[in-house]
Every structure is written in C-alpha cells, then in structure tokens.
Subunit: 366 residues, 2 copies
C-alpha cells in the first residue's frame, strides 16, 4: 500500500493545503494519497460524479466500465482515462490486475448493484455503491458479507452525510441545542417523467419512489434524529396505476418511532414536483433544510438563524472524504459503510411490509 | 324575528357600508341585523372573543354566563352587559325568556359542551360551540339532533373557515390552480404549561393534544384538500407519562386517505413549541401557510407568490359571518355547522382507534 500511495501522490493535482472551513468547521482532508476510482455504469449520474471529481483533490477517475464502446471512447477522452483502464461488462473482472484502480463506484440500476458488488469484491477492489445499496436487506447482507470476506471496504454514495449545513445541524443536535428531539418531518419527491425508464421498472428498481427519492427521508430521519427507528407504519396511495405498475410505488407516507420516543412523518412520491424539506423539532429549538438533499446549494435555518456555509458540489466533498476513509482510515461523522446501507434496506423492507399489511412493523436490524 | 331585527338595528354601531375586500374578495356582510350573543364560560378564550367582538359590526355581547359572581360583575362593566342578562350556571335556563339574546357561545372545557348545548337548545337559543364540539361522535350526534329538534342552529367556532388567506387557497384549489391535489401536511402543536389545567385532564378534555391543537390539522386537511378522509392511520408517542396521563395524548402522528387518492400526514403535539404549518401540494402548484391557525396574522404563499390580505382579528370576522349565517341565512364557503363539527369527531374517534389498535381505520360518517 505504501508504494501505491507514493505513486498516487505523484499523480495528484496541486494540493490545496488549507482545510476548507466552509465545510461546517469539519475540515475535509485535502492532503494525502489520491483514491483512484473506476466508474461502473456511465449514465447521467456517473457523469455528474465524474464532473464533480474534477474538483476533488484526493479522488480521481482512473477507470471506466460500460457496455457501450462509444461511451468508453468519449469518456476516456473527456476524463483522460487511458484506454487500458476502460472495460466492458464482460471484461472488467480483469480489473483485479490493474494497479491504477483502488475502488469501483457502481452507478447502475438498483438490481445490478449486488452482482457488480460481488464481482468487484472478488477482484479485490473497494466498492462504492449508489443508494439504495441493493433491492432488499437480504441482498444487502450478501454484499456486506462478500466485501468483508474479500477484505475490501464497502461504502455507500451518501453525499448528504458530508454536507456542511447537514453536519452543522448534527453538531448542534449532539451539543443539545435543540433540547430533547421529538419530531422529524421529511418530504421527498419529484414528478417523474419518461414512463419507460428503469426507475419505473420493478425488476430493475426494486420498487418505485421509495427506492429512489424516499430513501432520502429515511436517511434524513436517521441522521437528523440521531437514532435508528424501532417501528414503522406506512400508507401507500396510487393515483396513476398505468404509469406506476404493480410493485412500483407512486406515493408512500411513512412514520417512524425511535427509542427515545421521538417520531417521524415522511413522504415519498413520484407525483409532486420539488418536494425536498427536512424539519427537526426539539423542546428547545428546531432545524429546517429546504432544499435538504437536492444537488444544488442546501438552504437551512435553525431557531438561532440561517445556516451559512459555502456550497461545495456534494460529490466533490463526498469523494475527498471517501478517499480519507478508504486510504487514511478516517471515521466519518455519520457512517457511510455497507452496514449503514444495510440498515436503510431493513427499514425500506419494513416500510413496504407495513404499507402492504396496514400493520405497524417492528424493526430488527440483526 | 322582524321586530327583533328592527330593535337590533337601532342598537348597532355605525355601519361600515363598504364591504371589506381585504377578506379574500369574499365580502363580509357588514350591514344587517346584529346577532346578540351570550358568552357561556368566561375564561381566557371567552375574553379574546369578547374583545374581538368589539370590532364586529354585526355581533355583540349581550349576555354572560359564569359560575363566578365577581367575573359576572367585572365583565358586565367591561362589556356593558346589563345585570339582568348575567346568569349563573344554575339560573341560565331562564335565558329562554330573555329577548336580548339570540345565541349562546359555549366556551367551556370540552366535557361540558354537550350538557350546555342541550340546555341552550331547550332554551330556544342558537348554539355556537367551541371546537371540538364534544368529546366524541356519539355526543356530537346528540348535540346535532337536539338542536335540530329544538329548531335552533348549531355552529362551531371555526375561525379559520373565514380567514382571508385560507379562503384564497380554497378558491385557488377550486379554480384548479394546484392541478390535482395529492398531499397535505399539517403540523399543529405547542408546549403545554401548567400540568393541572383542564386540558390535561382526560375527564374534562376527552383526550390530550388531539382534542385541542391536533383538531386544527384535522380541519386543515379537510378544507385544504376539499374532501373528507375515508381512512386514517395513527401513531402515538409519549415521552412524559407523568404530565400526560393515561388517555391524554402527548403526541400523535396521523395520516388520511381521501377519495381522490390524495393523502395527508399530520402531527398533533403538546410538547413542541409553535408548530403551526399547513402545506398543500398538487401536480401544478402548492400552497403553504405558516403560521396557519395562530391567533395573529396568517402568513402564506403559493407557487404564484405570497398571499397578501390584511389581517383582521379572526374572531371579529367569525362573529360577523355567524351573524349573517344565523340571521340572513348566508351559506359559508366552508360549512361551520354541527354536522361539520360532527365529522371532526368521527375522524378523531377513528384517529384514537387507529392509534390504539395500530390498524388502519375506515371512516364512515353515518
């Protein structure tokens, strides 16, 4: 590892040596070895990640995996990735022998996360996987176990876990600024377009809005309240059964109970525009984020006033931080590993069960 | 009735003859006979109503009912109510023979609404009752039937049903400005003080936060969405079982399903400060009110911009409108009669049942 790091340092862009204090006073490591990342699945989100990584000082795109030769050619030129680091899906197990790649970032439809993660782990590379990590908790456990067995790390693409205003609220909550936290309200939704996209295909998406946008409220409830829910109730409504077929949820309202007695009410929908609001309330104060998870600047305030931190592209910060986690052993404020991703899946399984049965579902994480 | 009206007109304050267009373009009747109201239960809310009625052109305090002789004396002086129109609880059935009183406004603890309403109806006077109208649907039905049998009207103290920004949103919704309405979010709460007050006594209040502040979200869901819910789910959490005893709910989250497929998520709590927000979302736009039901100015906006209407003390408008309903036969935009109040109680009964059983409860209004 030492020699690889040494090599990486010679590759790295001119270092910004001043910690970025605009990141909630929680300095992002900008010095250190560079994480060399292969992107697997070159869709629009991978493009966003690749563009954002141009601003990362500690992470760089050094490999590409795609089923489309023309894409590999175009991206190779755009991101200066040597042809030898470009793979088709058939070939990419050979990544095992490629010393230019430390980690593979899986950005495919949800149903493909598990098979790709298993292959990446077998190839001895760290896995970074978009969320939801898999289709359900059973798959998630397989991923966690496979990565542990292979001795590679598994991280989930939680960009909000590194966002400055979000982290400031978490800091305030831990400092007791809100008093006893009693309530979280999360609204996550957008109006989905093209009905033929994979997100509306149950086989590929594993569900509907909950597997795509609702998961933000699941995550938000957990990191804003600072606890994991012990029960869930949920209600599904569907106004367009043509667009949203059996097993593809259009709208789900769901509620959590936490060990402290706090509760949460959340909305996940594919039928309403730009719903993106988190609200945390405690006996001594509140916090509000709106937008709370969008790609652009997060806006927030608490009972003490507006949250003022400079916006940095979320994926830029995420990849710098993931470099520090994977290469320096840094511990993030909110976990972003596979066991964290697995908790989401346990909770989402319970939400679907609660919606289906109309019953409150107790959540067991083991 | 004609001679009574004629008499009242001579009593009335100088008339404001210009309709108040600050009331959402929905002109409040400021000309016409004056409704003569006896206030029953002289607590702090009755004081607020009496002060507000000083600004009403069509309603006036002409009677008082209280168990405290000193209060009757003080209020009689403050509001120029002749001593002959002041009653104790033992004496007030004699109000039947008092031509100065058209209606009795019941502002007592919830458990006393039913017995007083029955006595007022028997005395042949119109009943105005604070909300919740009674402890449960069974009591509510008794009130509705008793008033119908006695030939008097029964109105519920819904001040928001006459509020300008609220009515503007309802107008916009009816005009289709929000497209298909799909979601309502209502947050209603405050941190309750003195633990010995009647609101925390199950016998007097009939419950806890739901019977006091949560009902605003129940109402809001109905008038914002414009439908009555057909099912409800609910979850209760309690963090302070000393302050909030058995049968007194501290915090309840509840959800509604509407015939159109729209859903609602609401919060009722006695443990969080100043929660007062309504949010309505549709396929073409949204509406937000915050504060949405407080006594002061309501603040609101929609996708078209801020709602700009002059604040008028809610109870002032309410009493002018109730005069028009009772004396002119005016039909309000949103019903405020006993059958409307009964629907609240049917829904609240269902919320409590859903919270108790953990099951979704279908709502039948008959």
């Amino acid at each position: 590892m030492t020699s690889r790091r040494g090599f990486l340092q010679t590759l790295s862009a001119p270092l910004v040596t001043m910690p970025l204090l605009s990141r909630a006073g929680w300095a992002t490591p900008t010095e250190g070895p560079v994480l060399r990342v292969a992107l697997l699945g070159l869709g629009s989100y991978a493009n966003r990640v690749a563009e954002a990584m141009k601003g990362s000082s500690r992470a760089r795109v050094t490999g590409l995996v795609s089923g489309t030769p023309q894409k590999l050619k175009d991206w190779s030129a755009r991101f200066q990735v040597p042809e030898k680091n470009c793979y088709s899906y058939e070939q990419y197990d050979a990544i095992r022998d490629n010393p230019d790649i430390d980690a593979v970032y899986i950005i495919t439809p949800n149903a493909l996360h598990l098979p790709h993660a298993l292959r990446v782990a077998r190839a001895g590379k760290h896995v970074i996987c978009e969320k939801p990590m898999a289709l359900n908790a059973k798959e998630g456990r397989m991923m966690v176990e496979a990565c542990e067995k292979a001795g590679v790390k598994l991280l989930v693409g939680y960009r909000m876990h590194f966002e400055a205003k979000t982290l400031e609220i978490i800091r305030m909550r831990k400092a007791g600024d809100f008093g006893k936290v009693l309530y979280f309200n999360g609204l996550s939704g957008f109006r989905i377009g093209n009905p033929s996209q994979w997100r509306l295909n149950r086989e590929l998406a594993g569900g509907g809005s909950m597997m795509d946008i609702g998961i933000y409220s699941v995550n938000g409830a957990r990191y804003m309240v600072g606890e994991d829910p012990v029960w869930v109730t949920a209600q599904e409504t569907k106004t367009d059964p043509v667009k949203f077929k059996e097993g593809v949820d259009e709208t789900i309202t769901f509620q959590f109970g936490f060990p402290s007695g706090a509760s949460a009410s959340c909305l996940s929908t594919y039928s309403l525009n730009n719903l993106d609001r988190f609200f945390l309330d405690g006996t001594n104060g509140f916090a509000e984020l709106q937008p709370s998870t969008g790609y652009g600047p997060i806006m927030g305030r608490t009972h003490k006033g507006p949250l003022e931190f400079t916006h940095i592209t979320h994926q830029t910060v995420q990849m710098d931080e993931m470099a520090a986690i994977l290469l320096d052993g840094k511990t993030p404020v909110v976990p972003v590993d596979g066991r964290e991703g697995l908790k989401d899946l346990v909770i989402i399984d319970a939400i679907y069960k609660a919606a289906r049965t109309g019953r409150r579902v107790e959540i067991a994480y083991d």
